[in-house]
Symmetry: C2
Subunit: 271 residues, 2 copies
DNA sequence: CGAATGATTGAGTGAAATCAAGCCGAGTGG
DNA sequence: CCACTCGGCTTGATTTCACTCAATCATTCG
């Protein structure tokens, strides 16, 4: 809040995409009988900090990210933000508005973004005319649903270290799928936003990143991250729910976890 | 596991529903031009403990709950269950299978259930022929998505007491929408399942219910629950993230919360 | 350059987990 | 029938992980 750009301000871009480009972005195969100029979809640019849609806003269009990084948030009764996701290229925004015709969440640009507008009516009509497209559309919604289910499982079952570790590896995987480096990347969000997303405080996020850095699992410098031992990060699940453990891998995990606890004697601090 | 009925066993029922009945159950208006006998959907009965679908199973049909109570779960790498939802009458199961053509979660009957089978192909075809229906179908998926988003917000921001309180009031609301009593009902799930759903241990769930009972907010006897002060339960949000509070209601909340902490001197224990 | 925002780190606390014991009700079998 | 088990629930004692509060840096920006 308090930024110079308040919600809803849209700078009109001048690019347009056809259906084929939309399908490519969404990773679904375009219908065979697809005339390239059948329909065109407008691009709109958002500056960092601008909102693509706000809570309560009337829903009538879906948003497909063509470039840039965003966050989607819920606002609770005290005005606190709850981060739900960090969409990037190829992600579809605004789905939550279909049900009640009003957006249930808010999408904020974390960097300058190029967003493609897909009017819901056009979206729906395309499904009716192309059977393959309709399935693909249901598929996209279903994928979102599964993603959120996994998120729920992660939130309620994993330790703080495991949450941060998975967050980093997931981010890496998404970057590499987009053609960027999956090992070395730049966080577009603050520690506070990461914490909100993972159900942790910013201090815990910061401490955990520092600990991973100490352990040589990653290299951190502010928002610059390099994953050094992706495997260890992926297998570092949870420490708490020991209960009936026997497997070898588990014992290794426990050890890796324990190493976090002892005070990391400050040797490389304060240059 | 270890029950006499393993997954997949289906006792064929002999009931069938038409499209109008399906739409009623889903709370969507049936298409005006809807011939009642256009398509028929088969009912199938499941006994308590049976699985409607299992993880990894090939997806080809959606399941609509006509009666009974279920849980949907994710299984993690250690074989631990993570409860995702407690579906009941009117809820649609299996959506998560659309994306990958395989179910990502498992649905288990907590009581005897009557389930309506909706072949996905039929479902999709209906959307293409009836425009209103297509929107309604997207709407159902969107509603699921919003529900999960709210779940995520709840998991990462609320205290244990607030989670349990909301769980109870939500359950009450769902029961009253189905025409049952929203004040007095029977939990169909164990403390362990509630805990898994809320990201808590069964002990914490049990303690919290006992505390609410002590405070006169509810009345508990094993799985028999009576909500005595629904309002207090609904407004009992969170205690921890104090940070910048000033409002009157907040102070009241804090007090209500604090009363939980002092040891409840056992007076009514052990008859 | 200060002001502001974000990040790091420390010290102490507290909410919920863990470990552990006992109770209750249902089902089983001698 | 009663002894026995077994799963679910309750409650207590203790531990611990992550939060809170607080101070200090780093970086950006007006």
């Amino acid at each position: 809040m308090g930024g110079s750009n308040e919600a809803g301000w849209r700078c009109h871009g001048n690019l347009w995409s056809n259906l084929r480009e939309i399908c490519d972005l969404l990773h679904i195969q375009a219908p065979v009988a697809c005339q390239d100029d059948e329909v065109l979809f407008q691009h709109v640019r958002f500056k960092a900090g601008q909102r693509v849609h706000t809570i309560g806003q009337t829903f009538d269009t879906l948003y497909l990210v063509n470039s840039g990084f965003l966050k989607t948030v819920l606002i609770d009764e005290y005005g606190n933000e709850q981060v739900l996701s960090f969409p990037m290229k190829g992600d579809l925004l605004g789905i939550d508005g279909i049900h009640s015709q009003h957006h249930a969440s808010e999408a904020v640009a974390l960097s300058d973004c190029d967003i493609i507008l897909i009017p819901y009516k056009v979206f729906a009509a395309l499904g009716r005319s192309h059977a393959e497209l309709e399935h693909a559309m249901f598929s996209v919604l279903s994928r979102e649903l599964v993603r959120e289910q996994i998120m729920i499982g992660m939130l309620s079952a994993l330790s703080a270290e495991a949450k941060v570790a998975r967050f980093l590896t997931n981010l890496g995987e998404r970057f590499s799928m987009l053609g960027y480096s999956g090992k070395s990347f730049n966080l577009r969000m603050t520690r506070h936003e990461i914490g909100s997303y993972l159900g942790l405080t910013l201090e815990t996020v910061s401490r955990t990143l520092s600990a991973f850095n100490e352990m040589g699992l990653i290299q951190v410098d502010q928002r610059e991250i390099t994953l050094l031992d992706t495997n260890a990060l992926k297998t570092l699940r949870r420490l708490p729910p020991a209960k009936a453990r026997a497997k070898v891998t588990d014992k290794v995990q426990a050890l890796v976890g324990k190493k976090l606890m002892p005070q990391w004697s400050g040797d490389a601090v304060a240059a």
